[in-house]
């Protein structure tokens, strides 16, 4: 955390826009992200667990996406656009 600590110390305490949003987005928001991350990960990190969770989430997302695509791509009796002269249907 030493390099991070340095970044925290370097943040101007008053006007965060002192250096423009180039610094706000690239520096101050960096600080915001960093502090948010530190708050969320105060407990000791478990990289293997993180990978497993990410793989599980990815598998669920990919599974649902596949079903959604198959549902849409499978032959349907209705054409994708019904010929209407209306602006649309609610």
């Amino acid at each position: 955390m030493t390099s991070n600590d340095t970044k925290f110390r370097d943040i101007p305490s008053g006007n965060f826009l002192y250096h423009g949003l180039g610094k706000v987005s690239g520096y101050y928001l960096d600080h915001v992200l960093l502090s948010a991350h530190c708050a969320a990960t105060r407990r000791r990190e478990k990289p293997v667990l993180k990978v497993l969770v990410a793989v599980a989430i990815g598998a669920v997302l990919a599974g649902v996406a596949s079903v959604a695509v198959i549902n849409v791509a499978s032959p349907s009796l209705q054409p994708p656009d019904r010929p209407l002269y209306n602006y649309g249907t609610r």
Partner: protein
């Protein structure tokens, strides 16, 4: 890393590092183009992508007599000017891909430069979500220009500087009134949070007002009326299993069921989209808790809440927008409240991106595509490129070559058309954009409601209402139309018999397979 020397010699490691850094810098843009190509798919082929409000025509005239309410101002003019040196179909594709490019790079620019994963996740989410997809399928490319430029406008508003802000507002200025209003909703709370608040708001308001003049002046002079029934027609609706609020929080809820992404109502997809939104909101709240003083973050939070409230108005308390529109037609843009979810889309993009760190975070770039996979390949064929039959170009040449004054009336007396050559897709009458002279078309909008039957949103243009009354009156209408300043009548869709009885005195100038042009 090698040291920088005066001899400008660099080690191979330095060169590789430089190339890598360039690739990292360009990656949000490349991702945006990739997502654009994936979403647009067949629409990028030869021809024009036509759907609802997205009507591009070959050789659009630069100097058009628009008259009436300025609907596509100045977007159509910009397209016409660009189409002078470049074919219009290429201009359309550049604009559509440009929307994805601008959106992705803008969202990425709001994240720290050294957080590649976070930048890419923000870029992917902002360029691939339900809001963008539904508005694209409704053909509202001009609004999407404002949406794409919104992160840049927010960034410029937080940074300050008139020139920077004016440049960032150009996409919204080109897009027209809806794009500008959506951008201002996000930008004003950001400027209000800055240290020199009143000066910043003054500068923002002045720049926005100047850039809005092309549509503001004609709108104020048009004498256009806004029908409060538009609130019933265009209010947000539930387009998934979680009701109106659930749809809006998932960035959906557009009024038109035909503009939905195929398969978006599938319960599992809808659940995951809502969960992703919840996680993104949590991420943004976490950012906000640590960055309360950041004007961009705070302003965006306020704008997102305001946008959500406006979107809910039409759905839950329609009397409020109806009352406002009845009092002053200028409140008309409130009727389609879902449009104001754009700041929420940016909030969710930043919130989701805040979790992305390292290689695992980089994998999260795929999340937006996985939660809305059916936007790919032109939303599975909803978007595709078609070409105009030759007869449309022939009629365009005949009418535009005629120096005699007089307007053109487009029949049938409905705003939207379905042609075989559009692949059954509903489009706004192309005649509205083909000709240099004034085109009178019925801008009454008819929306089919499952609960209330057809909802008719009365025409806004006073001349349209007058011509409509002439056409609906008894007996031949040719002489009366000519007296009202009409020179041409264009009948499309082959149902000419319905109108020829009313236009017996008219001279046929061109007769094609699906078009009949009459001169009065």
């Amino acid at each position: 890393m090698s040291k920088r020397g005066g001899s400008e010699t660099r080690s191979p490691e330095s060169s590789v590092e430089k190339q890598r850094s360039l690739l990292v810098r360009l990656s949000p843009g490349l991702l945006g183009v990739l997502l654009g190509a994936l979403a647009l798919g067949p629409a990028l082929g030869p021809g024009f992508a036509l759907r609802y409000d997205m009507v591009f025509v070959p050789d659009p005239p630069i100097f058009r007599d628009l008259g009436g309410f300025p609907r596509a101002v100045p977007s159509d003019l910009v397209v016409a000017v660009l189409s002078y040196p470049i074919p219009a179909m290429v201009v359309q594709k550049l604009i559509l891909v440009g929307i994805f490019l601008l959106a992705a790079t803008g969202a990425a620019a709001l994240m720290p430069a050294d957080r590649t994963a976070a930048r890419l996740v923000a870029a992917a989410f902002y360029a691939w979500n339900l809001y963008l997809a539904q508005r694209l399928l409704l053909g509202q490319w001009a609004l999407l220009l404002g949406y794409a430029g919104l992160p840049w406008a927010v960034r410029a508003a937080a940074q300050g500087g008139v020139r920077r802000f004016a440049i960032a507002l150009i996409p919204a200025a080109v897009g027209g009134f809806q794009a500008m209003l959506v951008t201002l909703l996000a930008v004003l709370p950001v400027t209000a949070r800055r240290a020199e608040r009143w000066r910043a708001i003054g500068v923002t308001g002045t720049v926005a007002a100047v850039l809005s003049l092309p549509w503001l002046i004609p709108a104020l002079r048009s004498g256009a009326a806004t029908d409060p029934a538009g609130v019933d027609a265009f209010a947000a609706r539930a387009d998934g299993p979680f009701g109106v609020v659930g749809s809006l929080l998932s960035l959906g809820g557009i009024w038109n069921a035909e503009a939905g992404v195929p398969g978006q109502g599938f319960w599992a997809s809808a659940t995951i989209r809502l969960l992703v939104s919840a996680v993104a909101v949590w991420g943004f709240v976490r950012l906000l808790r640590h960055g309360r003083r950041d004007p961009a973050l705070f302003g965006l939070a306020v704008a997102a809440l305001l946008g959500l409230a406006i979107a809910c108005l039409g759905a839950f308390v329609p009397a409020v927008p109806k009352g406002l529109i009845s009092w002053w037609p200028g409140f008309g843009p409130l009727r389609d409240g879902q449009v104001y979810l754009a700041p929420l889309a940016l909030v969710l993009a930043l919130g989701l991106a805040s979790f992305a760190r390292g290689r695992i975070g980089l994998a999260a770039v795929a999340v937006p595509v996985l939660v809305l996979p059916t936007l790919a390949i032109g939303a599975f064929g909803r978007l595709a490129a078609v070409d105009y039959p030759a007869e449309w170009r022939q009629v365009q040449r005949i009418v535009n070559a005629d120096p005699a004054p007089g307007a053109l009336v487009s029949l049938p007396w409905r705003a939207h058309r379905v042609f075989r050559w559009t692949g059954g897709r509903v489009i706004l009458d192309p005649a509205t954009k083909l000709f240099a002279r004034r085109v009178i078309w019925n801008d009454t909008l008819v929306v089919e409601s499952r609960e209330h039957g057809p909802i008719r949103v009365t025409a806004e243009d006073p001349l349209t209402r007058r011509v409509g009354a002439l056409l609906a009156g008894p007996g031949p209408a040719g002489a009366r139309l000519a007296a009202a300043g009409i020179r041409y009548v264009l009948i499309s869709d082959g149902n000419e018999n319905e109108f020829l009885l009313k236009l017996q005195d008219a001279t046929p100038i061109f007769r094609g397979e699906g078009l009949l042009l009459l001169r009065l």
